[in-house]
Amino acid sequence: MIGRSLLRLLPQIVSLLALIGLVSVFFPTFLQIDFSDGRLVGPMIDIVKRGAPVALLAVGMTLVIATRGIDLSVGTVMAICGAAAAWAVSSGYGTVPSLILALLVGLAAGLWNGILVSVIGIQPIVATLILMTAGRGIAQLITEGRILTFSDPDFATIGSGTLFGVPFPVVLWLLTGIGFALMMRWTALGLLIESVGINRRASALIGINARVLLIAVYMASGLCAAIAGLVVTADIRGADANNAGLWLELDAILAVVIGGNSLLGGRFSITASILGAMIIQTIDTGILLAGFPSEYNLVIKAVLVLTILVVQSPNLSAQWLWARQALARRRALRDEAAPQSGPRMTERPVPESEVSR
């Protein structure tokens, strides 16, 4: 069981290790971790901390993508939730109520997306595009176009505090990731989500309430976005309606895809998506640490991402399978030419359609 899931994560782990090796060549102290002022410091710690928003978003995005959907609104939801929390805190509602308000706003945003997708039946990419476009306006409405700052030390802890030396954002994404992963795998939820993603109609026929499940999945994504929004807002002690979470939805989707999850839904792995998020952050931070001029960041990132994706491409692996099967077939033919002792029907003829897909 553990061996199998490790095998599933192998491409991501290898990619991550290769990247870490690559960066270490340029920046020898990359793996060094110190303990000072009661907190862990080092480039790796920096990566897991800075990767927190994308890792959090990737958790929710994985579930959405597993249902064959996509959530473009998460970056905007981050901004709205951050703005809501900052507004509540600076209006004197106390830290905990403000945080709860932000999470509720995230859930509400997810509910909206979920209803559009599952009840009204709008294509997920368009349904979430609506909130993505309108949401920044809503966030600006809350902050009245300014950067809403606050000075609440408890709130700021979420972004810059530590727990047993570990930065708090890291604790948050670890807990969120583990929580969702356990919820998916210890119950049948994960299986049901995969089933809806593969064939919604068939799932409905066997009695899965796809409608409610879809809404729940988008609400989970909204919740993750809300947590990510809190982290970003607490980190800079201010809500920036324009830039909070800007284009992070794309990074989150990329993380899920690098994690080997198909955009066509079905089987998913939250752990792999989080590894994908860490791969992206390692690329981002690594390029800077390796001393490349920052102008080169995006090009290097694009090339690395493309390489990882091409290596994982379904067609390449199909061709690899095809080559192996062709080899096996040739071998079987040779065996057949020899004395007819070997089992003849072991080699299943491969239909052309399977190979060319």
Binding site: I125, L129, A134, L298, A302
Partner: protein, 326 residues
Amino acid sequence: MTINTRLYPLLATIAIFVIAYALSYTQFPAMLSTRVVGNLLTDNAYLGIVAVGMTIVILSGGIDLSVGSVIAFSGVFIAVVLRETSLHPLMVFALLLVLSTAFGAAMGGIIHWLAMPSFIVTLAGMFLARGAAYMLTIDSVPIAHPFYDLLQGAYWLMPGKGRLTLIGVAMLLTVAVGALIAHRTRFGASVFALGGGEQAARLMGAKVGRTTVMIYAFSGFMAGLSGIVFSIYTGSGYPLATVGTELTAIAAVVIGGTILTGGAGYVVGTLFGVLTMGLIQTYIVFDGSLSSWWTKIVIGLLLLLFILLQKGLLRLSQSRISAGHA
């Protein structure tokens, strides 16, 4: 009344634009002046052109997220090449269009032959093009060339002192050409077929691989053209320009009545989608008291309205078809 139900979204788009314009006119009579009309065309020229390419991509059931970055790259490329060399701008335009078309074609090739989703491939293309723009320069580079002054100064003074600029006309021409290509050529038919389903398109005899490459090459060409227009409009190249334009273009296409799953829509609708979005901005400028963030909220609501409208129409036409079979 035997209007094709497929025409309903297009008619709805045009009707909403006309009604919105009429409402604005009753509040601000100056809205109908040729000045406003001219500016509406000029200000949205680059968006209109890139949206034509996006329409073709969406009609085929795909998506192209790279166009905003390609526009920015185009502006920077033109500005830097004009600064560093003594090439004539027309020569630079030709070079750029070859580059952006090849870039689009390469993405189309990857999408088809590696069987990767267009969303992800063009997302990587978006990073790549933006990154390439950064590599050329990270500053805003002004374009100072007599030919550019000529292009910027080229307009036809309409009655009422409105200026019908060269880039505004360029957009209208592009829409016309795009409509011809989409609705009157073999390539266009293949695009629609592909939007209906790859399997069906193949059975119909469309060359799926070639069509896919051509679709993204076309979108790349349009993005390049839009970049040229944008550089004429702003008179500079800036690598941070037009961030998020791809999503604005997609929104314009959807408001224009094209269905995002592909296979149904009109290029002319996209023009009205762009103009409707431009109208909202113009109205907010005229009003003066509304904040700019209302633009985003109203565009979001419009998107919702159009999608619901399409849903309703689709259900209507489907029930009519099933009624016909009964």
